[in-house]
Amino acid sequence: MEALFDFWAAYGSTVTFAMANAFFALSTYAVLSTGVLSFTTVTFAAIGGFLAAQMVGQFGLHVYLAFLIAGIGGGLGAAVVASLFLRLESHWMALASLALVLITRVTALNTPGLTGGVNGLVVPVTISQFELFVLLTVTTLVFYRLHNSWYGLASRAVREDAAVASTMGISPYRIQFTAFLISGAVGGLGGAALAFTLQFISPDTYFIGIAFTMIASTVLGGSFHWFGPIVGALIFTALPAAMQAVVPAVEDVAKGVVLILIMVFLPRGLIDPRAIGLRRAAKRRRDIEHEAEKTHA
C-alpha cells in the first residue's frame, strides 16, 4: 500500500502534466479533425496562461474565474487567427502557424509588463490534481458531445473531403472557424492549467516544445477520435519519465525512435475507429467465405 502511495506521489506530477498536455492535444485535435494542421495552440496557450496568471496574481481572481477568462481569451485570439489564416492553403497555413509560434515568443519576451519578460511570472496559486481532472473531464465531455452532433459529422466530412462536403451545403470555412474557436478556448484552458501546475511561466514555457509535444501526442494517440489525443498525451508525457527509468543515457534518442516507429507502424495512431470497422468488415468477409465453404461441403 505504501509502495503504491509512493509511486503515485512520484508519478502523480507526470499525470498532472499529462493532463495539461491533454488540453493542448485536444486543442490541436479540434482543428486537425477539420483537416487543418496548425501550431497556433501554442499561441492560445500563451494567451490563456499569461491571462490566468495575471488575473490571479494582479487582480486576485479565483482560479476558476481565471480559467474561464483564459478560455475566453484563447477563443478570442483564435477568432483573430482564424480570420487571418483560414484563407491560406493547407501547407501555407501550417507554416504561418509555425511563424506565429515564433512571433508569440518574441512578443512575450518584449512585453514584460504582461508576461514578466525573460524572468517570467510566478503563479502564486495552484490547483489540485482532482480539479484539473474534473476540468479535463468536462472538456472531454464537450468533445464527446461535439463528436456525436451535426458539427462532428460535418467536421469529419470537411476533413476527409472539403469539396464534397461543400456540395452538401456544409461550409468548410464555418466548420473550420468553429474548430479554431474550440481550439482556442481549449488551448487557453491548457495554458492556464500549465501555469497553475508549473506555478511559474515564462515566454519559453509556451514555445516549440509544446508545439511538438501536442502534435506528436495527437498523431500518436490518433487524430480521428477525441479519445486519441488524451491517450497520446498520457503516453507522450509518461514516455520520458519511463525512458529515464529504463535507459537514462539515451532518453532523448529513445523518445525519437519510439515516435518514428509509431509513425511507420501505426500511422493513424493508437485510437482509430476506422481500423475497427475495417477489421469487422474483414471478419465478415471471412465468415461469408466460411459459410460458402460449408454450403459447398
Binding site: A9, T14, F17, V118
Partner: protein, 385 residues
C-alpha cells in the same frame, strides 16, 4: 520510544538553532545508514557543458564525504540524478519524484533562475530542502527550505571594474550585454556605474541575445565606437563568440569578461584571443591558494582528468553544505530537521573558496579573484598588463 525520539530531536534542533557555532557537536550524530541526495542535473540541453561540471563537482564531494564519514559515522550518501535538460517542467517533475522517495533528504538544482523559480514553490510546499547551485537571481533563497550556495553577482564585478578603471585608465568603454538575461544586465549596470563614477565615458552598449551565434555585426558595431576597453557581460557561448569576433575583426584594445570564460573548454575553443582578458571569479583551480582548494583540484583532476572550473566548485560546495547540515542532526534525520540545520549554518566548511559565509541562506563571498588566461591555456592572476 516515539516520545523520546521526538524530544531528542527537539533538543537537537534547539541546539542547532542556538549554536551555529557548534555544528559538529560530537554528541549529536545522525543514525548510521544510507541516505539519498537528489540532484536535478542539466547534462543535456543548452547548458550541458556547465551542467556536467556541476554534476562532477557534486559526485566528487559525495565520494569524499562518504570516505571521510563527514556526514556522520556510518552515514553513506547516495547521489541520485535526474536529468532536466534545463526545462522547467521536467525539473518540477524530477523534484516531485524526489519528494515521493522517502529516502531522499535534500535536493540540489538549477542553473537557470527561471527554472529555479519554478522549482522553488514546490520545494517549499512539500517541505523539501532545496540547495540551489547555479541560479543567481536575488531573492531566490527562502529559509528554511530553499538555500543557495552561489554567490550573487555584484561585488566581484565591482572589484574588477574598479581595478580596470585604475590600471587601464580607459577614456571610453563599450559594453556587450545579454538583452535577455537579468543577471548579466545587473552586472553590466554595476560595472557601468563604477566606470561612469570614475569619469569614464560609455562609448556604446551592444545588446545581444543568448541564442545568437553570429557576432561579426555586433563586433563591428562595438569597434565603431572606438573604445579603449570592451566589457563583455554575456553568457558563455556569446561571450566566447564576441571575443573571437572582436579579435578576428582586428580589435586590439582591451577586453574584459566574466567568469563564464573560465572553464577550460572555452579556452580550447577560442584559444589565443582569450589570453590576457581579465575576469572575476570566486574559484580558479590554478590560483586559489587555500589547502582546501588545492586538495579539491587534485582530487578532481585525478577523478575526471581535467581541472575543475568554477561550476564544479559550486556543485562540490552544495554537497558539502548538505553533509554539514546532516552531520549536526541527531537520530533519524528528517527533511525538516535537515532544512533547519542547514538554515542555521553560518559558514560552510570545508570549502574551496577560503571562506563562504551564509547569510539568510544565501552564500556571500567577499574575496574575488581577478584572473586571466595565459597564451598557453593556464589561468593566472591578472596583474593589469
Amino acid at each position: 520510544m516515539r516520545i523520546r525520539k521526538f524530544s531528542l530531536r527537539f533538543a537537537a534542533s534547539i541546539l542547532a538553532l542556538s549554536g551555529a557555532m557548534a555544528p559538529n557537536a560530537a554528541f549529536a550524530e545522525p543514525d548510521a545508514g544510507e541516505y539519498k541526495i537528489g540532484f536535478i542535473s542539466e547534462a543535456t540541453g543548452p547548458l550541458a557543458a556547465a551542467g556536467n561540471s556541476y554534476l562532477h563537482g557534486a559526485q566528487l564531494a559525495i565520494e569524499q564525504i562518504n570516505a571521510e564519514e563527514s556526514a556522520g559515522k556510518g552515514v553513506e550518501l547516495e547521489l541520485v540524478e535526474k536529468e532536466s535538460g534545463s526545462d522547467a517542467a521536467r525539473s518540477v517533475q524530477a523534484l516531485t519524484q524526489f519528494i515521493a522517495d522517502r529516502d531522499v533528504l535534500a535536493v540540489s538544482c538549477c542553473i537557470l533562475s527561471p527554472v529555479a523559480g519554478a522549482v522553488k514553490p514546490v520545494a517549499i510546499a512539500q517541505k523539501m530542502p532545496l540547495v540551489l547551485y547555479g541560479a543567481t537571481r536575488p531573492g531566490l533563497p527562502e529559509l528554511p527550505y530553499v538555500t543557495s550556495i552561489v554567490v550573487l553577482p555584484g561585488p566581484q564585478e565591482v572589484k574588477m571594474t574598479k581595478m580596470l578603471a585604475e590600471k587601464l585608465a580607459p577614456k571610453t568603454v563599450t559594453y556587450f550585454v545579454n538583452a535577455d538575461n537579468d543577471g548579466f544586465q545587473g552586472r553590466f549596470k554595476a560595472a557601468q556605474e563604477v566606470m561612469e563614477e570614475a569619469g569614464i565615458k560609455t562609448g556604446g552598449v551592444v545588446s545581444i541575445l543568448s541564442a545568437d551565434t553570429d557576432f561579426t555585426a555586433p563586433a563591428t558595431q562595438a569597434i565603431a565606437t572606438n573604445p579603449d576597453l570592451i566589457m563583455v557581460w554575456t553568457t558563455q557561448t556569446p561571450a566566447a563568440g564576441i571575443i573571437a569576433a572582436l579579435r578576428a575583426r582586428g580589435y586590439e584594445g582591451h577586453i574584459s569578461a566574466s567568469d563564464v570564460i573560465s572553464p577550460a573548454p572555452v579556452f580550447e575553443r577560442i584559444g589565443e584571443p582569450l589570453a590576457g582578458i581579465p575576469f572575476p571569479t570566486s574559484f580558479a583551480a590554478e590560483i586559489s591558494t587555500s589547502p582546501e582548494a588545492k586538495a579539491f583540484a587534485e582530487a578532481y583532476e585525478a577523478k575526471f582528468n581535467g581541472s575543475p572550473d568554477t561550476y564544479a566548485a559550486q556543485g562540490y560546495t552544495a554537497m558539502r553544505y548538505i553533509a554539514q547540515g546532516l552531520k549536526s542532526l541527531d537520530g533519524e534525520p528528517t527533511r525538516e530537521a535537515l532544512a533547519n540545520a542547514m538554515a542555521s549554518i553560518a559558514e560552510i566548511t570545508p570549502n574551496v573558496y577560503g571562506g563562504l559565509p551564509m547569510k539568510e541562506g544565501q552564500a556571500d563571498v567577499d574575496k574575488a579573484l581577478i584572473a586571466a588566461w595565459t597564451k598557453d591555456g593556464k589561468i593566472t592572476t591578472w596583474e593589469g598588463n
